[in-house]
Amino acid sequence: MSVAEREPLLSVSGLSKHFRMSRTEVLKAVDDVSFDVREGETVGLVGESGCGKSTTGRCIVRLHEPTAGAVRFAGEDVYAPAGSRSADRERKRRLCKGMQMVFQNPYSSLNPRMTVKDIVGEGFALVGRLGQKERDERIVELLRTVGLGAEHMSRFPHEFSGGQRQRIGIARALSVDPRFIVCDEPISALDVSIQAQVINMLKRLQAERGLTYLFVAHDLSVVKYISDRVIVMYLGTVVEQAGASELYRSPLHPYTRALFSAIPEADPRVARGRARIPLKGEIPSPVNPRDECRFADRCPIAEPVCRSRRPPLRDMGDGHRVACHLA
């Protein structure tokens, strides 16, 4: 069976996360976002800062309570009323075993007062009681998987470099043997030569364990490299989604085109020869957005229809979807 025919492992529908700033102001960080992630694939979520990509990732793993919409993971509704508090707690345990998160900043996402052994082993409480010896064995095995060793067990996070800390964060996420991992900018805080190490490791782990990733990032070249499908967000909404190679070959949304034309390519002749599509101004505020295309103010081809209503996400064939009146 091909990837396309399988039931989605994760399905996000109509997800919104609004933050109330004052009596009259509402910041719509994520506004009516829907997409599916199928088992075994990597979906890249890209966009510039403030587009809501991290908030979306956080809503999926229940780090933010969404304002509206539903998230279904492995056939289970993540946010449906659970009936009782104990039922909700039980569901949370199940979900935590199924999905985990790797955070952007390896300096702030590890507790500085815990040893590596405690950080990686904390999740075992979810799996069930383990004896001291078995617990240690599993921690060593996890550390080996991410390229660290038994000698690192009793050390503290400050003794490690950024790349090593990110490995510890990945080992922690793997400790409960999840099916799905949200990687929230896992490499943007790392040096170039270390980034490749972590990317290669994530790909290897996926192949070995059949993991599914939602890969949130702003580095478009890395996203193209690691993803099967890519979702482009702008100001809280999805503007385009398609298979990775299809999207990069023929982007349909004017924002996607402008974004791709600005990619800093590490090749002098390509970088200097390419014409950039200039965008007017900067990303507008997501506070109290109007009911129009969010990109209209900066769009090089905007027409009156763009300001009349918000464009729906339309399927252009082969799962290539775009939210643009003019596409």
């Binding site: 510039e48 800062s49 470099s161 790349g163 090593q164 040096d191 170039v192 030569s193 270390i194 980034q195 490749a196 190490q197 990317i199 290669n200 790909k203 702003h218 580095d219 478009l220 070249s221 890395v222 193209k224 490299y225 690691i226 990775a244 990069y248 402008a258 974004l259 600005a262 990619i263 800093p264 390519e265 590490a266 090749d267 002098p268 002749r269 390509v270 970088a271 200097r272 020869g273 950039r276 200039p278 965008l279 900067e282 990303i283």
Partner: protein
């Protein structure tokens, strides 16, 4: 041949800490000619920022101190200058753009006043003139509605706007040299492209030389005439941008180029990560700093520092593989795209 604006000769710079002496920069030489864009590329801890900050003596001294070598700005050694002279140079001779505009702008001052402040205590510039020059520069860096913006505080501006204000501050004194330390690292790609184009445009208009410090090879590829690649406190390779990208001579540079995912990188192809981590600068290795991570390392690489070999057209490399007794190796070089030639 015109005289170099900035001429660095065998500079070594260290910091005294409780743990011992950190040898951040170990014998770096480079020069910057008037009007050119020179890139210094390297990863965190390679000494690129420390080197650049020496030009204005911005490193805290102590614990920092010069271990050896010279840094000449227009023929004068900056390490021989007193605090008063340095104060005069900052902004008027050399402008500095920092990585994080959030932390380098004063949050309690309006941005217009911060740009004007460059002239404070300088003879020959009246208040009114300072104000008009600040406004002119803010407009030049692409800030619209200057009259309103100049009265705003940094927190009211977006990241790209703040970086524009930083650039205006660096340029308003009409310096002959701008040092930009990771000027676009905290910005989004579309804003990054705008800021880089702005810097390039200003260089053309004002003839200012630029030293661009970055870890991003994409930024280097787009902007720089000449490039210095630093690793472990040393320059390992230098040359024209095309030399570095298409005729790569040092294994570290090749590794760096191989480890970035590019648009045409095939998804099935594994990225060539450089295994291991950079050297500890408390006790730097006696030989080549990259030897421990280098695929081609020989015994001599670990024992003594590599001499600098001169290749064609000003391209230089410090690597033992160039020695006549070394076995020749083929580094994975990048092919220049034919279509763009």
């Amino acid at each position: 041949m015109p005289e170099a604006i900035l001429d660095v000769q065998d500079l070594s710079y260290s910091f005294r800490t409780y743990g011992g002496e950190v040898q951040a920069v170990r014998g770096v030489s480079f020069e910057v000619m008037p009007g050119e864009v020179v890139g210094i590329v390297g990863e965190s801890g390679c000494g690129k920022s420390v080197t650049a900050q020496c030009a204005l003596r911005l490193n805290p001294e102590p614990p920092g101190f010069r271990r050896g070598g010279r840094m000449l700005y227009k023929g004068e050694d900056v390490f021989a200058k007193g605090e008063r002279e340095l104060r005069r140079m900052r902004g008027a001779e050399i402008g500095f753009v920092f990585q994080d505009p959030m932390t380098y702008l004063n949050p309690t001052m309006r941005v217009g006043a911060q740009v004007e402040e460059v002239f404070a205590g300088r003879p020959g510039v009246s208040r009114r003139e300072a104000r008009s020059r600040a406004d002119e520069m803010l407009a030049l860096v692409g800030i619209s509605d200057v009259a309103r913006r100049r009265e705003q505080y940094p927190h009211e501006l977006s990241g790209g706007m703040k970086q524009r204000v930083m650039i205006a501050m660096a340029l308003v004194g009409r310096p002959s040299l701008i040092i930009a330390d990771e000027p676009t690292t905290s910005l989004d790609v579309t804003i990054e492209a705008q800021i880089l184009e702005l810097l390039d445009d200003l260089r053309r208009k004002l003839g200012t030389a630029i030293v661009l410090i970055t870890h991003d090879l994409g930024v280097i590829a787009k902007m720089c005439d000449r490039v210095y690649v630093m690793y472990g406190g040393k320059v390992v390779e230098s040359g024209g941008a095309e030399d570095i990208f298409y005729r790569t001579a040092h294994p570290y540079t090749a590794g760096l180029l191989g480890s970035v995912a590019r648009l045409e990188t095939d998804c099935d192809e594994e990225l060539k990560a450089i295994e291991g981590t950079p050297p500890d600068l408390f006790s730097p290795p006696p030989g080549c700093p990259f030897a421990a991570r280098c695929d081609y390392a020989m015994r001599v690489c670990r024992e003594s520092p590599a001499p600098e070999y001169r290749l064609e057209g000003g391209h230089r490399v410090s690597c033992w593989l160039r020695h006549e007794y070394a076995e020749p190796v083929e580094l994975p070089a990048r092919c220049a795209p034919e279509a763009a030639v």
